[in-house]
Symmetry: C2
């Protein structure tokens, strides 16, 4: 694994940090940093380094850049396309000790955090000021990792993805230079949008050490709802109808009938095995009540088979249970297997057709899949379990994955709406971007000429 052959530079690296134990070569630690949550093949780094300050990150990068040692930034390791796997060995740079909430500015709706802060902890802190941070990937990711993947989730339909929340960054470049992008202002036209360039760059252009984020008032009143429909198309029409009516819907998720079936057999529940919309409305109480009435009436026009809603927090959670358990239900059915998950995003009118195509393709290949989506964004996931040690099993799943991606690209969509490229989606970028991919490469080369930052990812 290169640990012995590289012991020279590891010793040198230890001398760069005040505490040599913050450069670890313990097998358990290396193993922890060798994989993500998906089916992608693991590989151990030579060392895991735990910086505590931006200056330490700078010193580490300067050193790595001089010696041509790969550096893979690591947050919670919850990404899904092999992003954090150190495919060329080298350093896994674990940012979780940089987890300070630097400054909460409630009157500006702005917060400054270090990159290693987990989103759950940020939200705990913000709640004290009546605020919250809306971006909610399923895992308890770090803010740095969420920025690096341009993560989003169920609330993007109302608040947008990470890209829309990040006002500024502190970034350490490959050669150790520390820069600050953006400002505390909510908008700016002062030169190139470097902030936006680093969002979604997957650790290949710089290491994010601090971020300035927009935060939002906790809504006064929240209602969750669940509605079932005769078809995926009818459900999607209601979702789009709400948007068309200008209802500021906070969440709108679609789960297909086969997935509800899987949840029922996993949980022993008896949810109607129908395409189901999971909704959330939030805001001032009177406005929310008006929105819920409107949604219920709209569902009725599409032969809605049931419309339930709740405002109490516990009851809201119960109402959404089948959505939360969608992926788990599939995982539980295949113990020991690993997750492969598609993430295409299509123009929203194409979503029902795309979901039906995905379901059909999976069935044709004899693959059990959970299919659910952020229907307001045209983004959905098909989750299948694969045995990484069975090449046939993986190849079959890859074929379904590829068919789903090609279907989306042919309709003007993207191969990944929120998870990012990592290793898994590299093969689709040429089809998706054509000549623009060369521009991305040129920017990579300009900012990281020695290709030390997360090599082997995106390109």
């Amino acid at each position: 694994m290169g640990v012995t052959s590289t012991s020279g530079w590891i010793d040198e690296l230890r001398r760069l940090l005040p505490d040599p134990r913050r450069v670890s070569t313990s097998h358990a630690v290396l193993e922890n940093h060798s994989h993500d949550f998906s089916y992608h093949a693991p590989r151990l780094p030579s060392a895991v380094v735990f910086p505590e300050t931006t200056e330490e990150v700078s010193a580490i990068l300067r050193f790595a850049n001089e010696h041509g040692i790969p550096v893979v930034p690591f947050g919670a390791g919850s990404s899904l396309e092999g992003h954090v796997v150190p495919v060329k060995g080298g350093i896994s740079l674990d940012l979780t000790r940089m987890n300070e909430i630097v400054e909460v500015r409630p009157d500006d709706f702005v917060v400054r955090v270090q990159a290693g802060v987990p989103r759950s902890r940020l939200n705990q802190r913000l709640a004290r000021d009546g605020l919250f941070f809306p971006v909610d990937p399923g895992a308890d990711a770090t803010i740095g990792g969420m920025i690096a993947t341009n993560a989003s989730g169920t609330s993007a339909v109302r608040y947008g993805a990470m890209r829309h929340q990040v006002l500024g960054l502190e970034v350490v470049l490959a050669d150790g230079t520390i820069i600050r992008t953006g400002s505390l202002a909510v908008k700016s036209s002062a030169g190139y949008n470097l902030t936006g360039l680093f969002v979604g760059s997957e650790g290949t252009l710089g290491v994010i050490t601090e971020a300035t984020l927009r935060v939002y008032p906790l809504p006064e009143y929240v209602v969750a709802a669940r509605a079932t429909f005769p078809s995926v198309d009818a459900a999607a029409r209601v979702a789009v109808g709400l948007i068309r009516a200008g209802v500021p819907v906070a969440r709108v998720e679609l789960v297909d009938d086969a997935t509800v079936q899987a949840v029922n057999s996993y949980k022993g529940t008896n949810y109607p095995e129908r395409p189901t919309l999971f909704l959330e409305f939030s805001g001032p109480e009177a406005a929310v009540r008006a929105d819920v009435d409107f949604a219920r009436d709209l569902a009725a026009t599409e032969d809605g088979l049931g419309f339930e809603f709740e405002s109490d927090e516990k009851a809201r959670e119960r109402l959404w249970e089948a959505r939360h358990h969608a992926a788990l239900a599939i995982a539980a059915a295949s113990p020991g297997k690993k997750m492969m998950i598609t993430d295409v995003c299509v123009p929203i009118s194409h979503l029902p057709e795309a979901i039906r195509h995905a379901r059909r393709t999976a069935e044709e290949h004899g693959i059990q899949a959970a299919i659910f989506g952020h229907v307001g964004d045209g983004n959905y996931h098909a989750v299948f379990m694969v045995d990484p040690d069975d090449p046939e099993d993986v190849a079959r799943a890859e074929r379904v994955n590829a068919a789903i991606v090609q279907h989306a690209l042919a309709r003007g969509g993207t191969c990944t709406g929120e998870h990012g490229v990592g290793m898994g989606k590299k093969k689709y970028l040429n089809d998706e971007h054509g000549q623009a991919l060369a521009v991305m490469r040129a920017i990579k080369k300009t900012l990281d000429p020695r290709n030390v930052l997360n090599p082997g990812k995106i390109f």
Copy 2:
């Protein structure tokens, strides 16, 4: 002006286009393309070229790049910092003949347009499908120019700036390469955000020929309101209070008392000479009514001196008149002078103090100013009229401008929230960005190594 010395390449350029008249050297046309709407010194280009296709833009750029001839993209010329002034001569590339609305996709809330489409015409077309494009700079700018400056306006508080609307672009690079960025999907994590890099690049990285934009349903019901307050602070607290309560306010503009005074003497009106909030609420009728009630009650808690509202379109316009005439009132008071306009954006809690500081600074320098702002974003403008031929007059206004910018930067703000850098804000970028400015320069050099695209701007 270089026209005669460059007649050789102008003849060659004429041969590149099917109709030689689309390369103009008529004085009237050159003059038209020598200036913007501001006090910045004009300069004539050597020729104005009117491409009609992306391929023509590509051929022109390839030619210009080979010969090292500057190219300045030109939309409506409504920018305010000398952006379109061809300070190094060369070609003014006028995109207004590329004004096709390529595709309206009402079910996807997406439209594809050529860069030269004026926003008014886009909105006329979208209305047929019950849609609209929200970004509304005061002028009838082109979509290409609005993208290139990352424009915004009164509706950014609800919908965001251009940056949030652009899903994809067709761009011609300096060497003539045509690329497509983004997709028709509303979100993506597929590699670097090139779309976001070109938004706000002011014609210095590439020529935008086509854009894919998000569009929104025309609201069912709209209410405009006007509320007066004893102080700028009280007015701002109400604006922030609405945001804090989760009211999806569509517009919220603040005009200071001295500006209302100027409007009264210009129009012969008798609006209360008090800090005034101009508001707009939109959405489903029941929700809007609830929002308006909430706003009126909130205004009362801040000793609001009056709260009027209207839903009829004509009445709404009348209610907002004093806001629309704010800049005009100042301009009318100084016939023959040109406009200088600040555009700082600060963390929103600092807005009242920033406005008071701007008013005080202008008064100390004996300058009459209109001061009004997008209070929900922390972005405001101070407009003064200057005589470009009177160096003392310009210098005095520049001192006020600089003081306003320094005040904003010291509070974590930006020198320009929506107008962009052009020539006028170049001098502030080092203070604002520090080392990050070198990264911007490196990107410029990578994409435009011969510095032919709008040279002398931003940097």
